[in-house]
């Protein structure tokens, strides 16, 4: 991975971002944070609806129709800006434990979001009348929110990978 990261850092797009480091990296990071905000806002409001704590004037289907597309769209924005950050600083991103653990959790979070949205779409009645009231589904809502919060923590820890001690590949360089 270190060799791949070093090769990537010599490619044209990477060199371009590195040369415009002063504004390119903070701008990409800021857009990434705006994407994170829309994901967190959407996940929060869907989860609060499942828990029955907000948005009870709307059905579950209305809630997912309102926030689902914003959630999915923001995840694509995060993927795009995330790729740009990896291209711009390959070694800083890829040669860390935090990054790969984050990617594993992103895969889980995105999968849960996708399955949830398609299930609510396909079995609307079942969700409205039964599933949304189950404590297992409410527990899953809380768990999903925590997964996204952990993803944010891991994203920040990419800059502090040494907190993982010997788990950090940077410690072995």
């Amino acid at each position: 991975m270190k060799h791949f990261a070093e090769w990537l850092s010599t490619t044209q797009p990477s060199v371009f971002i590195q040369q415009h480091n002063g504004w390119a990296i903070p701008t990409i990071q800021s857009i990434h944070i705006v994407g994170i905000a829309i994901v967190m806002g959407s996940v929060l409001l869907i989860d609060l609806r499942i828990l029955g704590w907000a948005g009870m004037d709307q059905s579950l289907r209305q809630t997912t129709r309102r926030f689902g597309p914003w959630l999915t769209g923001s995840l694509w924005l995060l993927l795009a800006t995330g790729i740009l950050m990896v291209v711009g600083e390959p070694v800083r991103e890829l040669v860390t434990f935090s990054f790969w653990l984050k990617m594993a959790l992103v895969a889980i979070g995105a999968l849960v979001a996708g399955i949830f949205q398609s299930q609510v779409r396909r079995h609307e009645q079942l969700w409205e009348s039964t599933l949304v009231h189950r404590s297992s589904i409410k527990g899953l809502a809380v768990l999903t929110f925590l997964v996204w919060a952990c993803i944010i923590v891991l994203g920040r820890l990419i800059a502090y990978d040494h907190v993982w001690g010997s788990w950090s590949p940077a410690a072995r360089l």
């Binding site: 705006v34 070694v91 919060a149």
Partner: protein
């Protein structure tokens, strides 16, 4: 800060600096500096908080602009959502203050930090402007698909200001170096982090 010849102004300037230095010397600030974990975790909690602040404000602003949630009562949405916005804002502000304390003199002299504070004040005044204008007639447009022009102006300004706050905040990380108390002898931070631990 103390370039003016006015001695009164110089005294005020130096008392601010004294206060900032006192903040840096508090046990809380040095405790954070001494820990490997606490500052990164404060940053993480700050990002979680600000993501929830912006994420929920966007929902309200898009409702005012008539872009999304057009069929919902504005007051119902506001009472459902804004308490979470405030809770998240408290988390963000508290973690922000703690981070500021670790390196108060450097942050207070940083241009991006100063710009961010001004933008936060403007965002607050913008909210106040909404409360003093459109919010007073809310029963007239509560169920309308979009809000009056003044509320739309507030919503647009709110989106611009909060995104600018985030950008300014990110710039702080690139234009300041983190204060750290002496590291354990066996850890070389320069090697681990490279020149840019942002």
């Amino acid at each position: 800060m103390t370039t003016s010849g006015d001695p009164g102004r110089r005294r005020r300037g130096s008392s601010v600096v004294a206060f900032l230095k006192w903040l840096e010397a508090t046990p809380v600030a040095s405790g954070i500096r001494n820990s490997l974990f606490v500052f990164p975790l404060l940053e993480s909690a700050h990002v979680i908080g600000l993501a929830l602040v912006l994420g929920t404000i966007v929902v309200i602003d898009l409702r005012l602009l008539g872009v999304a949630s057009r069929e919902r009562s504005f007051t119902r949405m506001a009472s459902d959502i804004l308490k979470w916005t405030w809770a998240a804002f408290l988390l963000t502000a508290a973690t922000g203050v703690l981070m500021f304390m670790t390196n108060a003199v450097v942050y207070s002299n940083n241009t991006a930090f100063r710009v961010k504070v001004v933008l936060l004040v403007l965002a607050g005044l913008n909210t106040l402007a909404f409360e003093l204008t459109a919010a007073r007639t809310v029963q007239r447009w509560d169920r309308a698909p979009s809000a009056p022009p003044i509320a739309k102006a507030v919503a647009t300004l709110s989106l611009v200001l909060w995104i600018a706050v985030i950008f300014a905040g990110r710039i702080i990380g690139f234009t300041t170096t983190r204060a750290a108390d002496p590291a354990p002898a066996d850890i070389n931070f320069e090697d681990l982090l490279g020149p840019s631990a942002k």
